[in-house]
Amino acid sequence: MAELTVFGFKPGKSVIHRLDVRFKLIFLIVISLASLKASGMSLFLLTLVLVAVLSHAGLSLKPVMRALGYVFVLLFFIFVARALSTPGDPFIEFKFVSVSREGIQQGALVCWRFFIVVMIGLCFVSTTRPAEIKAATEWFLNPIPFIPEKRVATMMSLIMRFIPVILNQARETADAQRARGVENRKNPVYRLKKLGIPLMRRTFETAEKIAVAMEARCYSENRSDPELSANKRDWLALFMVICLCVFILVM
């Protein structure tokens, strides 16, 4: 899962690292929403801001861009789909395929917005400890009745922790079956069954072991509350983000 490692916490001492995670989560949502309505000019501004923030947080652009390779492929397809499907002034015509000027514009804009949302997510994830994200989730879920916020938060962090383990097990099982020629069987249902059942069994066994290990370490729902604290800096940041969003929307 080396491709996914950019989407991980990078320790640092920048302002973004030190902001309260609850505020960061709000910023993430607000800016993403605002960028969906942004015009070309304000997207340009937002990109500048994001690049500045990323480099301030100590993330160098090159490895980030390399790791986002899949995202660019996806963006390319979105662009092509938009360009082909939007009616308007023909820009290029080839037999019965025509690409309109508006289509290119629209496509570029949509891709740019999408890209910005990904970058904002990256900013958030790489400057926030997983434990803090968990704490914030707990905090936001707390006022909602009938949701056991501690349990949800623990489950979330266990899922995050064990996705790579389960993927690894899946790969191992698939390799072992390939080594015994499962590819000669053309029926996909058969192959899915042969992969799925042992994988499920292993996953349940792992879950059982995790549960026992957690019990041995005194796990219960009654544990130390995570530490969250907001100060003046966070409110100032909130003010700035609101200004930014207003600016984006009116421009």
């Binding site: 026992v212 370490r217 130390s224």
Partner: protein, 249 residues
């Protein structure tokens, strides 16, 4: 002082399998005890009775005089347990969070948690990896991380279930050195293994199990001759000498 007292302990699983059969065993504080036996002899089942993950069908286990079942949280805090499969006992997303998991469960204050986590990480020499994700660590480092997670709960007894399984040679040495350091610091150590090569030289006492029974309990060197009968390979004396010297240097 007797820290663990096991009296007539028997365990029958729900399917009728006899896991343990009237076991009597006493362990003094600060002792280094190795429990040996082939697979299926009941080592894991025995360890799980120490912190109440399994409860006896008959008999009793006392920790410093108090029965385990009377106070399970106390038993779990007192007996730190390192399981065989490292990957499925690491629950934190980072090394730091993994070690903090136990102290958080004990409802400690944030400052105490921080102090304990940095203390435990320092003890096992993983401070520089505190922000890493556990899956990037090597086998030996992972096992040390698990040990740190246990140490942060400040247990009085450390129980290891097959601590050297799936480890390469450097990993084995790392973990063994760690265990020896902890023992020198006064910890009571209990290790369950099916291969005595690594640990026999350091054990104060060897307990041999077969089919859920404790059949021998005494000085490791006096029991070496009998190992074959328990399905355990006799440690090779020449290699043993060499390895002990290299490990301790």
């Amino acid at each position: 002082m007797k820290i663990i007292e096991i009296e007539d302990l028997s365990h029958r699983f729900s399917d009728g399998t006899i896991g343990l059969d009237s076991i009597n065993l006493t362990i003094r504080e600060g002792e280094f005890v190795v429990v040996g036996g082939q697979n299926g002899s009941g080592k894991t089942t025995l360890l799980r009775h120490l912190n109440g993950l399994l409860l006896p069908s008959a008999g009793i286990v006392r920790l410093a005089g108090i029965p385990v079942f009377k106070d399970l949280p106390r038993a779990r805090q007192m007996v730190g347990m390192v399981f065989q499969d490292t990957d499925s006992q690491i629950v934190g997303e980072t090394v730091y969070d993994e070690v903090a998991f136990g102290p958080e469960n004990l409802c400690l204050k944030p400052n105490d948690i921080k102090r304990r986590v940095s203390g435990a990480l320092k003890l096992v020499g993983l401070t520089h990896l505190a922000n890493q994700r556990p899956n990037v660590l090597s086998g030996g480092e992972k096992r040390r991380l698990v040990i740190a997670g246990i140490l942060a709960m400040e247990p009085r007894i450390l129980a290891f279930d097959e601590p050297f399984s799936n480890l390469d040679y450097p990993g084995t040495i790392q973990v063994l050195k760690q265990i020896l350091t902890l023992h020198r610091g006064g910890q009571t150590i209990l290790i369950a293994v099916h291969n005595l090569q690594e640990v026999i030289a350091f054990a104060d006492r060897l307990v041999l199990m077969k089919k859920g029974k404790v059949l021998r309990n005494g000085n490791p060197y006096e029991l070496i001759e009998e190992l074959e009968g328990f399905g355990i390979r006799e440690p090779c004396p020449i290699r043993l000498e060499m390895e002990i010297q290299s490990w301790l240097s």
